[in-house]
Structure formats: structure tokens, C-alpha cells
Symmetry: C2
């Protein structure tokens, strides 16, 4: 079996952890498997590099930042090879250019285009454990690039796809994907399986263990991912196309306090005003989540939407400056709100999820401010101090603890 394993920065943060990872990999290697390991930069190294760069240039070029970042993962793979060697297992470290991992040339946020498999396969044929730098690529001119957030996970999935690996294991500091954050919902339970689409919704809601881009790539290439703990042997959660074992409609509940509601009140009821408003925000790179428009009366309507909390001031300022003040009466802002979502691929075949959620919240006496739905998600806006209660109510309503 060919297994791709990915370990994050905390998993290789010091000598003991490096040896812990080395031992886990060697265990599978000794069973006769071919092992490819993707590593991130150690612990706080990336943060330290950013600080050093900023001290020299507050606004460093993205190309040079990527040139600087890539030393982080190279250090991890070299030290890991030494650790495995010390434990008697032959290992070889490879960086993005040695593999090679070809990417687009968007520094700081590149996408992998193509992975050469010749070198890795050659090393595997020599029965070596192959250690690959995560997060990085090279563009067509051999410049280093980095893949942006969740980059090392994406590297692992892309490698698994290119090598036609039998398994892709992503090791984290949690045991897998839960029905909800266990710190907020004590009844939360680890899922055995989850679909790509569910995982994508959770990732978008900030509740997923994996980044969007990594899950999208896995979905596109049919790479089955196992999310599991680097600290114990628990089996983890399998991310795949279809879940066979689960008979629940909903797979999880997510809560996100990092939201604020902006309402533009008394907007003139003319065609195109909503477009103009959101076009202004988009042009200023302000991402809008939920949008709600009230039915107009007196030739006027209210347009409400949510943004990330740190963007509130910028968004309001942006509207005041660029949206004709004659077209609306006032702007109202509420920061103490939160989004609560239920996600589940089963919604496609089982209507009534939204109704069930609303009922649960009503029973818990929680007021719903706004509602937004996708094919496999229902999101409601509630008061920030009611978020945890709402999550628990939804979790219970869908019997996720079972």
C-alpha cells in the first residue's frame, strides 16, 4: 500500500514530537507499506520569519516572502530525515523543486498544477521513506510559490492523487471531524465518515478541520482522506464521496461568532440598488455572507447583510463614501450576533431540516434574526450570547449525539 501522511507544524514543533512522528511513520513502513510524508514548517517558525521580514520591510514583496517561507518546510523535512535515520529507517527529504511540484505563479496563494512523480517513485523503489515539503510549489520559471492557507493539506491530497496513493492521512491535534465543537457542545461526537460536500460547508463555516481548497481537490480527484490525531491511534474520520454507514440527515452543527450585521435602512425601491450596493462592497474586497432584503413599503426597503467583524467599520465607511446617500435613510450595525448552521448531505433527500431547526430554536426561546440556506446547509443568525445554546438545541434536535 502507498500511504501519504501529512503532519502539521505543531506535530513537528520540537525534538520529541519529531521523533513521535518518525516512529509512527516507521511503524507503517515496517509493515511493508510505501510511505510519503508531507510536513509543514515547525511550530512558530513561519510567524518568526514573518516578523523578521516585517522588521526589514513592512510591505515585503510576495515573491521574496515565498522565498523566505519555503525554508521552513525544508528545515522540517531535513530534520525528520535525520530522526528517521537515527531510528534506523532510510529516509530522503525533497523540496518542491526536487519533487517537482509545479504551481501557478500567484505568490502567497498559488495552486498546484502538476506533480512529477518520477523522483518520488524512484526513492520509494529504493525502499526509502520520502519526506516532502508541504505548502510550497515552483512556478514555470523555477520561482518558489506558497499555496496559502491549508497549503500542506493540499500538498498531501495533490500528492496522493498524483501517486495514486491507497490512503491519504491528515494528522491533526483533534481525533477527527466532530458533529460540533466539543468545547461548546458537550454531547458532540466524532464522525466516522463525512462527505466532501459536507466537509466543504463546514470548512466555509470555519468549523472544518480541513481547508476548503484541500477538500475541493480531494473531491475532484476522488482522494479519500482520513483525518486523525497525531497523538493517539484513534481511527479518525474518513472524508469521501458518499457515506454508507451514516443514517443521519445532518452531520454537524457549527457556530461562528465572528459576524456582524449591517442594515441599510430605507433604501429606495428602484431596480439595481441592491446590485449597486454589493458591487461597491465587492470592489473593495469586502466579503458578504448572508443577505436579506425586506419586502418594500412606501417605495422603500431594508437591505441587511453580514460581514466578518473586523470588516464592519471598513464596510460602513465604504457605503457612506460610495453609495449615494440620497438612496437610503440610515445605516444600522449590530456586532453582537453569531451564525449557527446545520450541515448535512441528507438534506437533499429529506425536506424539513430547516423547519426542525427553527422549531428547536423556538422551543429554546431563541430569536432568529436572519436565515440563509444552501442545498446542504441551513444557517440562522442569533444573538451572540445565545449561540452556544442554539448549537446545543440544534445538535439535540437532530440527535447528533447518537
Amino acid at each position: 500500500m502507498l500511504i501519504v501522511k501529512k503532519f502539521g507544524g505543531t506535530s513537528v514543533g520540537n525534538k520529541e514530537r519529531i521523533f513521535n512522528v518518525a516512529r509512527r511513520c516507521i511503524e507503517d513502513y515496517k509493515k511493508g507499506h510505501d510511505i510519503v510524508v508531507v510536513l509543514s514548517a515547525m511550530g512558530k517558525m513561519t510567524d518568526e520569519l514573518i516578523a523578521e521580514a516585517r522588521a526589514i520591510n513592512p510591505n515585503p514583496s510576495k515573491r521574496e516572502m515565498d522565498m523566505l517561507y519555503t525554508i521552513g518546510e525544508q528545515k522540517s523535512v531535513a530534520l525528520m530525515a535525520m530522526a528517521m535515520d537515527a531510528l534506523g529507517a532510510p529516509a530522503v527529504s525533497l523540496n518542491a523543486f526536487q519533487v517537482a511540484m509545479h504551481s501557478t505563479n500567484k505568490y502567497g496563494n498559488a495552486r498546484l498544477k502538476r506533480i512529477d512523480t518520477e523522483r518520488i517513485n524512484h526513492e520509494l523503489d529504493q525502499r526509502k521513506i520520502v519526506l516532502v515539503t508541504g505548502f510550497q510549489g515552483i512556478d514555470q520559471y523555477n520561482n518558489y510559490t506558497t499555496l496559502g492557507r491549508g497549503g500542506s493539506d493540499t500538498t498531501a491530497v495533490a500528492l496522493a492523487a498524483a501517486l495514486r496513493a491507497d490512503a491519504c492521512e491528515i494528522y491533526t491535534d483533534v481525533e477527527g471531524v466532530y458533529t460540533a465543537d466539543p468545547r461548546k457542545v458537550p454531547d458532540a461526537r466524532k464522525l466516522e465518515e463525512i462527505t466532501y460536500n459536507e466537509m466543504l460547508e463546514l470548512a466555509t463555516l470555519g468549523a472544518g478541520v480541513l481547508h476548503n481548497r484541500c477538500v475541493e481537490l480531494a473531491k475532484k480527484n476522488g482522494v479519500q482522506i482520513v483525518v486523525r490525531s497525531s497523538l493517539n491511534e484513534a481511527p479518525g474520520t474518513v472524508v469521501k464521496s458518499f457515506t454508507a454507514t451514516r443514517d443521519q440527515v445532518v452531520c454537524g452543527v457549527a457556530g461562528d461568532k465572528d459576524a456582524a450585521r449591517i442594515a441599510v435602512m430605507g433604501v429606495k425601491n428602484e431596480p439595481g440598488t441592491a446590485f449597486k450596493l454589493f458591487n461597491i462592497l465587492a470592489r473593495h474586497n469586502i466579503n458578504v455572507d448572508i443577505i436579506l432584503q425586506s419586502i418594500g413599503h412606501d417605495g422603500k426597503k431594508d437591505i441587511s447583510f453580514t460581514v466578518r467583524e473586523d470588516l464592519v467599520e471598513e464596510a460602513v465607511e465604504c457605503i457612506r463614501k460610495n453609495f449615494n446617500s440620497k438612496k437610503y435613510d440610515s445605516i444600522d450595525v449590530e456586532k453582537k450576533i453569531a451564525m449557527v448552521s446545520v450541515v448535512g448531505a441528507g438534506m437533499l433527500d429529506h425536506p424539513g431540516v430547516a423547519r426542525k431547526m427553527f422549531a428547536a430554536l423556538a422551543q429554546a426561546n431563541i430569536n432568529i434574526r436572519m436565515i440563509s440556506t444552501s442545498e446542504i446547509r441551513v444557517t440562522v443568525l442569533v444573538a451572540e450570547d445565545e449561540m452556544v445554546e442554539a448549537m446545543n438545541a440544534a445538535h439535540k434536535a437532530f440527535a447528533l449525539e447518537q
Copy 2:
């Protein structure tokens, strides 16, 4: 003009020094010159990496050490590019594979074979300052290699040769090459010029500012090197084939306390015994400097030689174990000795240098234990506590202060 400049680890050891180097390079850039800058790893970074590696594996593989080492220079060039950018000068950093710098595959001690000039010339054409990682290369399979001691100087000279640069400037913490170490010989004077061969002898004696391999490469390719200070604007010393301005026979005096004398006494006067003795030492990688064999009597002779002080015990042990004890009477060791040398290409045309040196030492009442000469060097062995006096006497005898 195309100028290759090389700065060592202390020159880029912190933010202020990085900006100091950046400003010096930009000065020449603004005069319209094409600038290629070779950098070493920052200050103590290489030592820190070695310590981290040893903590994980006391005997790390050389391939993985090189993989680890190379991040040092990559960090230097990336940060330098950011500093130049902050000062308004366009710069681009390139590592060994981006250049590419092709080398042999002897990890830790590789030799550069071929340097591609396309990428560097392309960047120069865009009027960019090109920052290149020193000390590193890639082998034919794209593995990283490092060039061993003096590696970054060698990178600079090799680049200057490949790019047909008009100048190759090596910046150090001294102002150039001196007639002697000014801490030992107060009259020491900076040389305007020195020949490759003289520089090679000084390098071998541990007194040169440049490493052997770098000078050899410069000699082979006819690259004229300027050794100068990174701290001030003094003109430095030019290293070249022939020196025009100097009318002195001798260019410098060197002293080296790191020597010990081993004498194998009463060796049987048979053919091949000297060969056997030194063959044994060579097989155990013990480098021998000066060799002296006394004229035999009673069918016996004494063979004396010098080695580096830290190799004495190993050398003696090696002889006791491997050299037939019936072939000699005893082994005698003296550690408190030093080598004093005078170097000068002028010796080729001017006999009497050795005689003049011996006279000077005799006058200073310094006893000479052993003598060794090359075409352009005379070395004598003296007591360790007389080394500085011997250096000053020789320096004066050849009027090097003038």
C-alpha cells in the same frame, strides 16, 4: 560594468548590517553597473542548524545536512531583497537551483562544475540587483550540495568567471591582505596587490583571508579578486596573476602555533621505511606538514614531521599500532612549537631569501628546529613562545613595513 560582490555571514548578521550591505550595493547599482551579490548564511545560523541537527542525530547524513544548511543562505538573500526593495532598488533572490549552480555530488564538500547564466543575465537585463546564495550547489539529480570551507568566496569567483564579470569583490572584516597579522606584527602593512600563488601559500599557512579553493579557481579562470572591508571604503588588496607595482621579493610573513613535532627516533636505515611510515599516516587521514630526515648513522636515522596539534595523539597512536616497533627505537613529541613562514613570488628570481631569513632569526637569537621550502615560501619551525619575535624579525629583515 558587471560587478560580483560577496559578503560573509557577519556582514549580514543583523538588520542594520543587512541595510549597510544593501546601501553599498545600491550605490554601485545607481552608477549604472550590473550588480550580482553573493551572500553567506547570517551570523551564527549555520552553527545553530548544526546544533539542532546533532540534537536529533549525532551523526546526520551529509545529504540531509546539506539540505538543512542551504536554508541559511536562502534566508539571507530573501531578507536582502526585501531590504533593497525597502530602499527603492529592485532586487531578486536566487538559490542554487534557480541559478542553477551545478556541482559534483560530494555532499558537504562539492565542487562547482558549471553555472547557468541565462536566469541571472535575464534579471540583470531587467535592471535588477541579483542576490545569489553562496556555498551551495545542486548535483545532477537536483540534490542540494554545499561547497565546504570558503564556499561562498568560491561561489563568487565561479560566478564572476561564468558571467565574465569586470570585477569580483570579496568583502571581509579586514581591509585586505596584510604583510603579517597586525595583532602580532605592529608594523604590518596592507598590500595593494598579491599574486594568486602567494595568496595560495598564505591560505595554506592559515594566514590568507581567502580559502585555497577560491584562489585556485580565480587563478585558473583569471578572475581578478579585490579583498576589501565591508565596514569602510578603503581600496583593499587586488589578487591577480602578476603584481606590477610591488618591488619587494617577499609579500608576507605568517605564523602558526597550531603545530606539533613528532620524531620517530632510531629508524632502521632500510629502503621504504619513510614511505611505510607516511603511508600509514596518510591512510588514517593524518595530514603531515614539514618532514625532516636526519642523515643516518649506525644503520639508523631519525624521521621528524609536524602535524596539527589536535592530531598528535592520533598520529602517535597510529604509528604505535601500525608501524612495526622493531623498525625504530622511540617516539618523541614536542607540542610547544610554531611555524613561521615568509612568502613571495619574487623568490623565483631572487635567491637568498632563506639565507636572509635565517640570518634575521640568528640575530634575534632564535633557534630554528626544522626548515621547509617551496618555490615561493620558506618555513621554519621555532619554539612557540618565540613565534611573534621571529615574525617581527623576518618582517623587518625584508623591510615589509615600507
